[in-house]
């Protein structure tokens, strides 16, 4: 029966697969059958459903999280307690300060611009004939993986000297305009904004979709009443539409902010964190795994956690409020 553990031929693999499906169906059936029993005390199904989740969160999230916090106060090998030394180093070392400033730039620009673009776009295409097509256009980047989007944009920014044919779109446009081609990803602080643009391109679609749904949910009576009172155009947008979708805007802003703080792929793929473009999520991976400095990596992870936590709390509260209104 050893082949069950190490199937090598095709029929063996199929047999294992069918067996696994049967087992799965059996367990699911058992669970469903048990749940339907009215005689069962209530804690049995509750424990059955909550137990695995609690276990997974305890050992997959809480425990490693505590370990990370602990490691951030210890030396590289984890043998000596060093107090705040790792944090002091992060906040005094020029490279790490750049990383933190970059992270703040990201979290300041990506959510606001992506949300603003999404909102304006959603209002502009709302109830027009091309609405579906226009929405699809801006939503498409969401369907691409972050790494894929980064590679696309890396090509857009690609540099060749003026004497050679350009293969990057941006520089070809520069050449058409009679300007010198630029190394977009090389010169700080411009390069960080070039990366931020990629993230905005990815996230705007998400903002647009959620906000568009919120706009459609505004009751027609409110719009009509506003129009009867003589409010149109920009005034309607500022004084009626935006306040009506305010909870949705907050949720979108905070969700994108969280995604931005955790964004690793764009930086890692496009510059590898070089040329002063690194952000915390990227730097803590590099420190932990490439440079063998897990204590610095742990401290960076804790800083990231401290930065994200208030946003998550605010996000959850807002979601509750907006759900309560419905």
């Amino acid at each position: 029966m050893l082949w069950l553990l190490k199937p090598e031929t095709l029929p063996e693999k199929f047999a294992v697969m069918i067996l696994a499906i049967l087992l799965f169906a059996l367990v699911m059936g058992l669970v469903l059958a048990v749940v339907d029993r009215p005689k069962l005390p209530k804690w049995v199904p509750v424990a059955g459903y909550l137990g695995p989740a609690v276990l997974l969160i305890t050992f997959g999230l809480l425990w490693p999280g505590m370990l990370t916090i602990k490691n951030s106060f210890f030396s590289r090998t984890g043998a000596d307690f060093v107090g705040l030394e790792n944090y002091v180093r992060i906040f005094t070392d020029e490279t790490f300060v750049t990383v933190i400033i970059n992270t703040l730039l990201w979290v300041a620009f990506v959510p606001t611009i992506a949300t603003a673009l999404g909102l304006v776009y959603a209002v502009l295409v709302d109830r027009t004939r091309v609405e579906k097509f226009a929405k699809t256009l801006i939503f498409l980047p969401m369907a691409i993986s972050m790494v894929g989007a980064s590679i696309i944009w890396k090509f857009v920014y690609e540099y060749k000297p003026a004497s050679q044919p350009q293969i990057g779109l941006m520089n070809q446009v520069m050449v058409w305009l009679g300007l010198e081609p630029q190394q977009w990803l090389l010169n700080p602080p411009l390069n960080t904004f070039m990366l931020i643009m990629v993230m905005i391109w990815i996230q705007a679609g998400f903002a647009m979709t959620v906000l568009s749904a919120a706009i459609k949910a505004i009751p027609d009576e409110i719009i009509e009443a506003a129009k009867v009172d003589g409010v149109t155009g920009m005034k309607l947008f500022w004084w009626v539409t935006v306040p009506s979708v305010r909870p949705a805007i907050v949720v979108v802003l905070t969700t994108i902010a969280m995604g931005t703080l955790k964004a690793f792929d764009v930086v890692y793929t496009m510059t590898g964190g070089n040329f002063n473009t690194s952000i915390i999520a990227n730097e803590f991976y590099i420190q932990s795994f490439n440079q063998g400095q897990p204590q610095i990596g742990a401290a960076l992870a804790v800083i990231l956690f401290v930065m994200i936590a208030p946003i998550i709390i605010y996000n959850v509260r807002q979601m509750r409020i907006s759900e309560g209104e419905r």
């Binding site: 696994a20 059936g29 469903l32 004497s163 190394q183 700080p188 002063n276 440079q291 063998g292």
Partner: protein
Amino acid sequence: MSQARIARGLVVAASATALLTLAACSGGTPAPSGSASSAATDEKCAAFKDYGDLTGKTVTIFTSIASDSEAKPHIDSYKPFEECTGATIKYEGSRDFEAQLPVRIKAGNAPDVAYIPQPGLLQTLVRDNAGKVIEAGDLAVKNVETYYDPAWKGYGSVDGKFYAVPVGANVKSFVWYSPKMFADKGYTIPTTWDEMIALSDKIVADNPSGDVKPWCAGIESGGATGWPATDWIEDIMLRVNGPEVYDQWVDHSIAFNDPKVVAAIDKAGTILRNDKYVNGGLGGVKTIATTSFTEAGLPILDGACYMHRQASFYQANWGEGVKVGEDGDVWAFYLPSINADQKPVLGGGEFAAIFADRPEVKAFQAYLASPEWSNAKADATPNGGWLSANKKLDINKLVQPVDKLSYQILSDPKAVFRFDGSDLMPSAVGAGSFWKQMTDWIALGKSSQDVADAIEKSWPAK
């Protein structure tokens, strides 16, 4: 009620489908089968007698060499050992090797043998995981002492104990050029540093338009961006300050921002940060930072630059149909030293360390240090691109001219070999700040002093 039942049925069906897809994807690769049964002649297996009969024993090996075409020569090179001792070698390669290996050791899931590409990583592994890396066995020690230069034993040792046997080697002190372009212009191969600078100036003077430059370079390498620039610094450290100072620099008995080191970085800057000299066919100095090292030498083929300093392994990057050789399209000369009677050589290599104290594992490690393995590996690599520093490696088995030249340089008694310094430094420096600061040195124009200060500051206390 019935609706709920249908919904549940759907859930089950959906989950089953997901599982089905997963199961279909998880087709495990069949393990390489060890054909131990073939009756090999006693003569062929004479050299394997000391390893004993290992029938039924299995040794796992983990390396960073992951692509099938590159892994196959390795797997093939173990066959004589498998045939003569009856042991089975299981090979596993991963591109994520450097990050994976420490995790596997910590998790108690270490491979039996691993190819470690940097002595610095070996030091970290030995010091961070007390007792997990096993000292080499007597047979392995004997093989290394007999067949390798003592320096190689030193690279595989940590704190006076010998752990890892050398397996592969490469030579980095090469400048690639086009023999035809040199012949057309009547240029000769420089034999001293000053001659090389004079040649560079001459090339600048011969190409006033600036479209063709003497040098091309590129240091982009994904997460390892910057390493080719560190090779430049190491080569120049060896030439300007000599091997003794080089050793002190590497083991941090002199500071990284010592004036001697800063002077070496400045000297590299006379080429790498000179807009007249670089970057042929690619633009100005800053393009070095964004040009992939794999493509950096290719402008030579277009006649846009004349020289490209890169290791012997660059031969694989020239592309199909480009003949590498003295009479070919591209060839390499030894990066000259300050004067012609010194011959410092910068190089690198991999080492095999063991993580299990079993006789078959120790026997296999000893085999990797033996001439039988080096020659079997050369036989199993018909396209070349590999060599070891084993004294008994048959040079005629090396098919590529660059491999032959590298082997000759390695075994030249006049040559003073030194291992790639960044590979010997702690990884926070050797795989971190050194790479990163050199990238900033080129991309952001940071001064040599600032770069050296920043690296010195990042040197870990322990």
